[in-house]
Each structure stands twice: as C-alpha cells, then as structure tokens.
Symmetry: C2
C-alpha cells in the first residue's frame, strides 16, 4: 500500500527566531483527511571530539525547556547555506577553542520525527589542537574532558539525556567499538 | 555563576492536538533579557522488544515531516495520567500484538532540548508472548523481527535515523552489551 501522506493545505501559524510552526491538512493513504502540526527548523550539527588518550569533550549547558543543566556534546545551528561539516568545526572552535584537523560524518539524527523536520548532522572530530573559546554574547556553557569509559558509565547511570549526544554515541559505538 | 534563566512572561501562541507553542521572555544569568520559543509536549514511551534469539522488533512508519518511511521501535504518547511503563506495554501490544511479561526502564531521552520539553521514556521488553495487532483507525505501520547484529549493521549504514530508536540503542548497548 502507498504509505505517503499528501499535503492538501499548509498554514503558517508562527514564524519565530529558531522555529516555524505549520498546521497542514493531509490526505492519508486510506483516503481519510487529517491534520499535521509541524515544526520547521534549520539544520544543525553536533560533534564528538576525541583525543588520542580516549578522552572526549562534554559541555554543561542550561536548557530552559527542562529548567536544568544538561550534559551535551558541542553543537549548534547551521548558518544559512553553511555546510554542516563547517558548522561542526565552527561550533567546536567557538564553544571549546579546539580546532579539529580531521572530521567525519557519523550519521544523521531526526530528533522528533512525529512533529519536526529537524535534521542534526553528527560528526566525529579527531587530531585536535587547543585554541581559545569564543562564546556568543548570551551563551553560557562550560566544557571539560572526560574518559570515554567514564562517560559510558554516566550514560548507564541515566546522567546523559540529551538526544543528539546519545545518538552520536550510538553511531560512534557501533562504528568504532567492538560490541559483543 | 548561577546558570538558571528566569521566566519573566510566558505567552501561549498555539494550542494544538499534539503540541503547544509558547514564547517566553526570560532573564539570563548575565542580567540580559531574551526570548525562548518553546514547544510543550506530553510524555511518550518507546520500547526495544527482544526475544531469546537476540531478535528485535522494528517498525516502518511514514513520517510526514520527512515525507518518508522511517525505521523505528514501537512508541507512542502517554495518555493523560498514564504511567509511561503502561504506555510502553500498551503501544507494543497495539502496534505489534506482543505482550511483554517483563519490562524495564533503560533511561530517559530529551529529543530536542533547545526548544521542547518533551521526555520520552525508553524501555526494554522481554519474555514476549504473541498476540493480535490492533492499530488506531488512521495508523498505518508494519513491523518485523530482525537480528540485533543486522540492526546494528543498519545503524552503521545510516539507515536508522529516528532519535528515540538511536537513543534506546545507546542505553541498551552500554547497559547490556560489552563494549571494547
């Protein structure tokens, strides 16, 4: 059976700084019509930066929707027409100061497929050179190095809940580690 | 430094079937004010169902925001006041027919921490008994069994991009498998 839902009408409800909201009327595969509430969001990138001692960079950042500080990998939105790889390198440099001489796409992450079209590109950065952090005016975050094994323990203890960070780890572990 | 952002004003922009949109005015730790665009969404649950042959259940479901069919684990929104564990059991039974005699919380997943407060509870279901699928009227999805190792290969090949599914795998691999 053809699974696609066809757009009959699309109405823009809100145009914001970081997201736009639409309510679309769609025709379902079974012929019924329904509505879809939909966030449209720009692309973003996220980076797992690892050094030759198997240490990785993590950040702590306050997140308003959860009213708490979360553990995350460096990440940020793509500027208009910016290649997501350049976003990853830029955000890593801005947030931590580190310049990566090697960067590789691990995979793509669809955060919340039921109501958003956001795509986050997940990267692995290696061969890192220390530099100077240069945060945006209203950005407050701190970063630190942690042993990969200790970070895995933090995941086991439910201390890492950020979606892009967990997804990056899935790609990294399945591609670069032996699982048995 | 105190990292919290304090809500000065909260304005509801849209109240929908599956999400509500707010624009809040906040006071930043540095004293500046800013706005936060914020989706409020109900809780949801997602289930990794695995049998004694190391086979797992995956679904294929059309997702309107991406205009394509995605590979996902069974999942769904919590009904009002429903325990997320009961949601996980209910959705697994509705979407696949399987009844789990054992279910365990793996961890929590924050899909998109910059602009949504959604929390998805990620479960591991075992000791499964076959039953009859009973989908919602407008739900069209198919499910199948796949060897865990083959599913890991699908992740390596970037064929699994759904956030809750990738995050569930991170918890499962770090808690139940040996990583070296």
């Amino acid at each position: 059976m053809e699974q696609k839902e066809k757009t009959i009408k699309s109405q823009e409800i809100f145009k914001g700084k970081i997201l736009n909201l639409f309510v679309d009327e769609v025709k379902l595969p079974n012929g019924h019509t329904s509505t879809r509430e939909l966030i449209r969001h720009c692309k973003a990138s996220c980076v797992l930066a690892i050094n030759e001692k198997n240490e990785i960079i993590i950040e702590e950042q306050f997140r308003y929707p959860y009213d708490t500080t979360l553990i995350e990998f460096p990440a940020g939105k793509c500027d208009k027409d910016e290649d997501p790889k350049d976003t990853a390198l830029r955000e890593l440099a801005e947030e931590t100061g580190y310049i990566a001489n090697n960067i590789e796409l691990l995979g793509l992450f669809y955060p919340t497929c039921a109501y958003s079209d956001e795509v986050i590109y997940l990267y692995l950065a290696t061969d890192l050179k220390e530099g100077k952090q240069h945060l945006d005016k209203d950005e407050t975050l701190s970063f630190s190095w942690i042993k990969l094994n200790e970070f895995i323990k933090m995941i086991q203890e439910d201390k890492v809940r950020d979606g892009k960070t967990l997804a990056t780890m899935t790609y990294y572990l399945t591609k670069y580690r032996t699982i048995s």
